[in-house]
């Protein structure tokens, strides 16, 4: 008896535990999905809106999906389709002959039956809408905003500065990770503190000097600083270089390798994941950069990157909601695609810079 009473509660406890775990799973997953759904609604809105016709925004009774007012071709002419209530039923008929009190319709599903007489005021009928995505909006946005130019500008800017940022940060990080330098700690803390410095405080004299050099209105003020290494990137690479065993350096040194040989043959090949992360960081940063190009390229629309071009487009075409959504989506495609393919290296980099500091 005692054995019996002891086992039953245990079984029950195992059962309830499993059930409770299942319920928790369903609840937490459901909550996550709900939040995710709400979080991504604007994205769906953007895509759907980008595919709408111009006229759909102002029409009352227009559906939320990309649609146009449906028409039907009957005996060589196009007629508008209306929703005609007869009794409890709602017919989708094409209005062929408009009359004040009596109108004639044709049923698109049964045109052979000929004209149908209907008594009532056709003006009070609602139009029928048919799915009609305007893929042309994307090409229209593409051409109006001159995307090929903006994309080339952005790609060149992002590509060149990424090269500069990664190579300079790698050299500096190597210096911090491997050499005994007097006052190295002070220098390192100074470097980290630049991460927190508001950019505005250095902006005006820098702008003034570039202006004196006649380079405002060119890409140079945006490109050159990238070759002098930024704090976050150096920090990330230094942390990574410190994990590479020094024995590898020492072995190469015994073989007569100098610091540059060690850097290129040992450090760089061992750190491809960290270097990729920094390259991605900088690429996305450059793709997103707004304030710098806005100031240095003002008045030179042929040199604009996507962000500034998109802003100018929004100012000119603020009424064309569909084109603005299309242009916004097009400008996001490249970074989002790269992210999907390289997210592992990228997120690791985010974690290193964010957690260890």
């Amino acid at each position: 008896m005692t054995g019996h009473t002891a086992t039953i509660p245990t079984n029950r406890r195992v059962m309830t535990r499993k059930v409770r775990k299942a319920i928790a799973s369903v609840l937490v997953t459901g909550l996550t999905l709900t939040v995710l759904f709400a979080f991504l609604i604007p994205m769906v809105y953007g895509i759907v809106t980008a595919l709408k016709t111009d006229s759909q925004f102002s029409k009352i009774g227009a559906p939320w999906w990309p649609a146009s007012e449906a028409q039907y071709e009957y005996e060589g002419r196009y007629y508008d389709i209306y929703l005609v209530p007869i009794g409890d039923e709602l017919h989708t008929w094409a209005l062929v002959d408009k009359g004040r009190t009596v109108s004639y319709f044709v049923d698109p599903r049964d045109p052979e039956a000929g004209l149908i007489e209907w008594e009532g005021q056709w003006r009070q009928l609602e139009r029928a809408w048919g799915v009609d995505p305007q893929w042309g909006n994307f090409s229209e946005a593409w051409n109006t905003i001159d995307f090929p130019q903006l994309l080339t500008n952005t790609l060149v800017y992002a590509g060149v500065t990424t090269f500069g940022a990664v190579s300079s940060a790698a050299l500096v990080a190597y210096g911090f990770a491997r050499f005994r330098i007097p006052k190295k700690n002070v220098l390192f803390i100074l470097m980290l503190s630049t991460v927190f410095l508001p950019g505005a405080v250095t902006l005006i004299p820098t702008y003034f000097v570039w202006n004196e050099l006649g380079l405002v209105g060119t890409w140079w003020p945006l490109i050159i600083p990238a070759f002098f290494s930024w704090g976050t990137n150096v920090f990330l690479l230094r942390q990574f270089f410190l994990t590479i065993p020094r024995e590898l350096d020492e072995a190469a040194m015994i073989d007569g390798a100098g610091p540059f040989r060690i850097f290129f043959t040992i450090i760089v090949p061992q750190s491809t994941s960290a270097l990729t992360a920094v390259a991605l960081f900088h690429f996305f940063y450059a793709w997103n950069d707004f304030f710098g190009p806005l100031i240095y390229l003002a008045g030179n629309p042929d040199k604009f990157p996507i962000t500034v071009g998109l802003t100018a487009f929004n100012n000119l075409y603020s009424q064309s909601t569909n084109l603005i959504q299309a242009a916004s989506l097009v400008s996001s495609i490249i970074p989002v695609l790269i992210f999907f393919f390289a997210q592992r290296a990228f997120m690791q980099g985010v974690v290193i810079t964010g957690v260890e500091k």
């Binding site: 799973s25 937490v28 997953t29 996550t32 939040v35 995710l36 979080f39 991504l40 604007p42 809105y45 953007g46 939320w64 300079s168 500096v172 210096g175 911090f176 005994r180 330098i181 007097p182 470097m191 630049t194 927190f196 410095l197 508001p198 505005a200 405080v201 902006l203 005006i204 004299p205 820098t206 003034f208 202006n211 004196e212 600083p225 070759f227 002098f228 290494s229 150096v234 410190l242 793709w287 707004f290 996507i306 962000t307 998109l310 100012n315 909601t321 603005i324 916004s328 989506l329 400008s331 996001s332 970074p335 989002v336 992210f339 997210q343 997120m347 985010v350 964010g354 957690v355 260890e356």
Partner: protein, 327 residues
């Protein structure tokens, strides 16, 4: 903090017995400085000298179109910014008000997502992580334009949803005018900000995964509830990460510029509510080209950022828990 202790050890090693560097050490230091030179040059050319020059500019009445007419006016710009020009104070207050909403909401949302994705009860964590991160990759200008559409008072889906779900009149001029109503505009801007939750979420998630499981096991044996574990173990253990995000967030908020500029070209619409400090700085410096005054505003921002950072670091010892130090 691991950074410091490591370098302390190095420093001990660095000191040669008689306080002089050997030839070999000199050579090593020279090589090291050579590798640091890109940063050293950049630090001087793009940080130190411009900062000093910026302070000098703040003492001038200066327009780059007529650089010859620059005149030294002492601290006139500073008195103007601190005493005479009310817009400086007002734009700073607006910036703080907005930050007081957007920063806590943003951090709590990131933390909420991280706790959710760290839960063993969620199926398909990696997929959610990617999808929650994805909007952070969209250029912020595009984010602002997409949200500008979805928050449109007439056709935006947010109002349409609210209206259809609750029956409250949300669309139209009598409805929720997210971007035109001074009472709502900061919340609307805060919503755009949520699309940049990715990095903070990932960093919090990594912080959560770094909490030693023994702590949870011990707590479970003591019969601690989920809420107790969250409040007594999880949150304290990741305070260093929260602290870092908070400091970056405060400094980022001071420089908030993009959304008001993209949406209304810095006019401050509605009712000046979005003329934030950085917007005002931009106007003075690059619309009116009052660069002397602009430099003053920039230095003022730097000083405020410095004070806020120092204050935050000062409070850190009361609430930030550095377990790593004791290792």
């Amino acid at each position: 903090m691991a950074v410091l202790s490591r370098s302390n050890r190095e420093r001990v090693r660095e000191r040669p017995p008689r306080g002089k560097m050997t030839l070999l050490q000199k050579k090593e230091a020279r090589w090291g400085l050579m590798f640091l030179s890109p940063w050293l040059i950049g630090f001087l050319a793009f940080y130190i000298l411009p900062m000093l020059a910026s302070f000098w500019f703040s003492l001038l009445d200066f327009n780059p179109a007529v650089p010859d007419q620059a005149t030294y006016i002492g601290f006139e710009n500073w008195t103007r910014a601190l005493v005479i020009d009310q817009e400086v104070r007002l734009s700073f207050i607006r910036t703080l008000k907005f930050a007081a909403i957007s920063l806590p909401v943003g951090l709590l949302f990131a933390l909420f997502l991280a706790v959710l994705l760290n839960s063993k009860n969620v199926i398909g964590t990696n997929l959610y992580r990617t999808l929650f991160y994805m909007p952070s990759m969209i250029p912020v200008v595009a984010t602002v334009l997409i949200w500008n559409g979805v928050l449109n008072e007439q056709t935006g889906w947010i109002n349409v949803f609210i209206q259809n779900l609750t029956g409250i009149q949300a669309t139209g001029t009598q409805g929720l005018r997210w971007l035109a109503d001074p009472r709502l505009v900061y919340y609307a801007y805060t919503m755009f900000g949520l699309w940049g939750v990715g990095p903070a979420m990932i960093i919090f998630l990594a912080g959560l995964q770094g909490v030693p499981t023994e702590l949870y096991e011990a707590a479970e044996i003591d019969g601690a509830s989920w809420v107790q574990r969250l409040a007594r173990i999880t949150i304290p253990m990741i305070t260093p990460v929260i602290f870092y995000q908070l400091v970056l967030g405060v400094i980022g908020s001071l420089q908030y510029f993009l959304a008001p500029f993209v949406l209304n070209r810095g006019t401050g619409f509605p009712e000046g509510m979005t003329r934030f400090y950085m917007v005002y700085f931009y106007k003075q410096s690059f619309t009116f080209f009052n660069m002397g005054y602009g430099a003053t505003l920039a230095w003022l921002m730097f000083l405020v950022a410095l004070v806020l950072t120092v204050v935050l670091f000062g409070t850190a010892k009361y609430w930030v828990f550095y377990a790593a130090e004791e290792k």
